[in-house]
Symmetry: D2
Subunit: 338 residues, 4 copies
């Protein structure tokens, strides 16, 4: 389904060329200072127009249609909506017949039996992530004690990201990228052993972001080649601080109070202008596809803030769940069992 | 929480040295041929005693306590329980005071305020995965059209896995491993764009398995260094078959009918006999920990079937959800909107 | 939380005097003919201005902001929003200090710590049910095989409803009412024994509607005074038809194919103009409350279509769940267990 | 599905004549004193053998198979199982062919396609409520500040319950009953406006109990015939105490700190020895059914503690949800929105 979370619940809606996109956030505690200005910084990071990204320009002005009163959250569901304006639907019609390699054109047509909105990739558009970013900005206020630091480590295998993206754009091609998200200030205790391990919940949200191919925590895939004596993190003080952080801040599915470190592999955008061989599902014959339209040469540039939002949403949910458990534990009856 | 799935729901219970471990499966359709013998093959793969794994020996004889009648599932919840027998609790008491580096000893003590069962790592024990394997065996019957192929590609960075594990054991150390799971025969259409993308649901289940540090699909982390023209999979026939499989069988969060390919990084077991520097939380001083007890030199050997079970459970859930949507779609009213 | 349903999921948002109210519907199968005109009939039934109801007038013009394309549902979340226009916030400010007897003023202030939007009762307003009615209209399309018949059996204990409401209005008072909903054409098999019995799911949705005090099925409370030989419904043909319908169409939590019959007790609106004794929470002294503002003399008049919507939403969810189970059952593997 | 609750989650399993029945409780906070002795008082209330109930005798000895260590809950899932012993399966076989009027025989056969365990009504047996009672006893420890008082107000329309039940038994018939549950000591603030109103969650759990036909709160169905000036509850002090309790302790879906009052209509047991006309689904002809076997003359006698357990489970879940929200609210960041 299109919702996420147990206590801090987010649902995404909208199609690229429909009337609006956005998100609804349920479970935000009341009393949190919140206005559209609080969403602006992250939306600006996501906004199109940067080098290496699509030329589509949207004002991305969010409306808070419910759940906020007097500059604070009320405890009721918060609806954030973005009206769509700059739409050019004619670009996309052909993909129903010749689905793009690597894209959801084919699989979504099967799933939705041809009824999905094909315009601008509809509900599969990167445009839809605007709602996720807004929800992430709200989530960050819930876990206001935590600080997020996200960077694109490399793109197309290179650290010189700007020029790698420019080259790909010139070639009518696209490149993938590697995003790292670090979160400091998390308390120990977030996550459940089965099945809602902190990694499991965070990875769930991250893989929901379009174009993600891999997720790893701490030493990640390198840990598969390590010995326990190398990978284990010795404790150095009673607050649980460790001298290294191979686990990325999570032991046994539960945060240990050290920095959370997660890396995400973002694939190259599937829509490219360079010609690709693929199938014409109308004729059943091979054909060459070279779509026009606006494309991202390096979606990882914009994915960074979206992935950060996904992590923030996960952490807000894990935090509220743990808060509930802790408070109930504190309120539990004294005494012995019979 | 300790449950997983929307329509095929699995909940895991039990502690390593408590009376029993197991799983309860809700949502298994009625009429599926099922008996304890159907669980045996996978349980045998998981069972202890193989080279490189712990010396603990459990008969692992499952009991089907509910939900099965006359050799078939009834549609009611299926409870699979394994009685614990071979327990040696004295091994583990010290870890409350000196938590093992890399282990849940510390984080679980914070979370459960000292009330978690510490014996044999309690609910965090690898023993608990017996229930997951049993649930996975049931899940495979639900997706009986699919075939699973799982292998340990390497351990400790080497393909000579037996000797790598033997060396680590001799050194009182442990090694990680890389597991690959391939599933053939899946229909296109499994998964939802937000948030229950097929990768998201599968990764959620995989990261719930102890010791997982990374998950990648298809080209995985390599995709971050690729160009779209390299990574994209051209379609070659109308059933959606592609000439290569960089996406690992999933486009836009929805299976495309090609082989599902997922790789999982398993870290080395945190409990090792070789001495490790860490903190004595009693004195607040550094100390050296060299636990006795029974340990796995290479848990990835046993993780393989557990991870396969996690994938099977995810797929059973995604399959039932998609079946529901498809059937409802087929039953939807004709005609036009007003 | 503010959502309902497992497969046909509805979430309600909005405050009476905020920018908008509405609902988001996730899980609606793709391909269902749907436009704003399809919502009109039920919204007209709910709309204010009828005798006995509030004088507030809203155009109640829904916008379909997502999930619909080309006159049909796409399978993505459907967002229905109603902009608020005719608001007079000054009426309600005093209720923060002197909470209305019988109203959520007090309990919501405790729960939301004073941050809930008090204007027009905020998220507790009857206005919010517009979204429920819209979601119900969509649900009815999903269970297009079923026909709904809802009537207000009595109000204020009288069958002459118009005049009872008029009298109450004249007295500055309000009256309750008894609503009966009948649904024909349901297939047998909807509902789960524990905990999602058909009655349980339907009652959950009904009690979520403001002002509901009781729910009963078939013989209802009268069954508590009956003998089994009176209450039991003899079967008369192999399709499960019974000669009477004391069970209201549900046996063991599962629909039996007979007419669903449910009755709902709606309390009188708590806001009345006649003076009431209650507490001034500011002074801690007793006071007399006689609010102005716009009030319903008989909310049951408008509740009828809202309650019908709640039943429709429940049935859509139960239907999709049963469809999933049936389809999976049909697809289950042949053969024997080992 | 067969589970209930968001934070305090209960799942019921087992069939009347299968190996075991019971419940699994997830989300119980760690550190709560708990042992089998704590379940005994409620199980004793439920146990068969009282006047007016079935002659089946089960020791009803619960086993706590997980989630408890050292006399306290650990925070992991708690599995309570009851082995079945006294089974006489031959009594029930005929009901597959001639389904009992008023019973789930027919509707469950349709739903489960003939695969449900028919012995002793399988998963539909009253026996299965043993797990619910055990879960309720655990729930009561979570809401240890609340006191429960439950009574059977009348049976078969009479207050002389013992003799009414005896008469019905003599006549080979059964009688219904009216159960009232009162809970004192609840804090204000439990419940959500949409959809998890306190009444909605409690009614959901109550209607999951077999044989429930109606649920009402406070004035209940009588409120439908009242005026607002009669039904409203004036506040008398700042803690929210009211001078009367027509609302049954809930305003706007949220508890107000007054006594919770709920009444439940329990229908007469459908299985009676007196002959009933119904259909032989084998021949398609009418027939007379007069089953032997063990039957309850007045199931309401045993339902009382089961219904109380359902209320306790609901309240534990609502309490943990509210605790989470409150704690998060308290931890929310200070300051203004941008």
């Amino acid at each position: 389904m299109n919702s996420f979370g147990r206590l801090f619940r987010v649902e995404i809606f909208g199609e690229s060329h429909g009337p609006a996109v956005g998100a609804i956030v349920d479970g935000c505690p009341p009393g949190i200072p919140l206005g559209v200005a609080d969403l602006e910084a992250d939306l600006a990071r996501r906004r199109s127009g940067k080098s290496g990204t699509t030329d589509r320009r949207e004002a991305d002005e969010p409306e808070l249609l419910s759940g906020v009163h007097g500059g604070r959250s009320t405890g009721s569901p918060i609806l954030v909506a973005f009206r769509n304006a700059d739409t050019r639907s004619e670009d996309y019609d052909a993909f129903v017949r010749v689905p793009r390699p690597g894209h959801a054109d084919f699989s979504s047509r099967v799933k939705y039996r041809g009824f999905a909105d094909p315009r601008g990739s509809g509900h599969f558009s990167g445009r839809v992530t605007a709602g996720l970013v807004a929800a992430g900005a709200i989530a960050k206020k819930v876990v206001g004690f935590a600080s997020f630091e996200t960077c694109l480590l490399e793109a197309g295998g290179r650290q010189d990201i700007e020029s790698a993206a420019a080259e790909a754009k010139l070639a009518g091609d696209s490149i993938g990228g590697l995003v790292e998200i670090r979160v400091r200030g998390l308390p120990p205790g977030l996550g459940e052993p089965f099945f809602d391990a902190a990694e499991a919940v965070i990875a769930h949200a991250l893989f929901a972001v379009p174009a993600v191919r891999g997720v790893e925590f701490g030493d990640g895939f390198a840990a598969a080649r390590m010995r326990g004596s190398e990978h284990n993190d010795p404790f150095v003080n009673r607050s649980g601080k460790t001298s290294k952080n191979g686990s990325g801040g999570i032991n046994g599915g539960i945060t240990n109070g050290n920095e959370l470190v997660v890396r995400v592999a973002v694939k190259p955008a599937s829509t490219i202008s360079a010609p690709q061989r693929t199938l014409d599902f109308g004729t059943g014959e091979e054909t060459t596809l070279a779509p026009g339209g606006r494309h991202d040469a390096c979606i990882a540039l914009r994915s960074a803030v979206v992935l950060e939002a996904a992590v923030a949403i996960s952490l807000a949910d894990l935090y509220l769940a743990n808060t509930a458990a802790s408070a109930a534990c504190a309120a539990a009856p004294e005494g012995e069992s019979k």
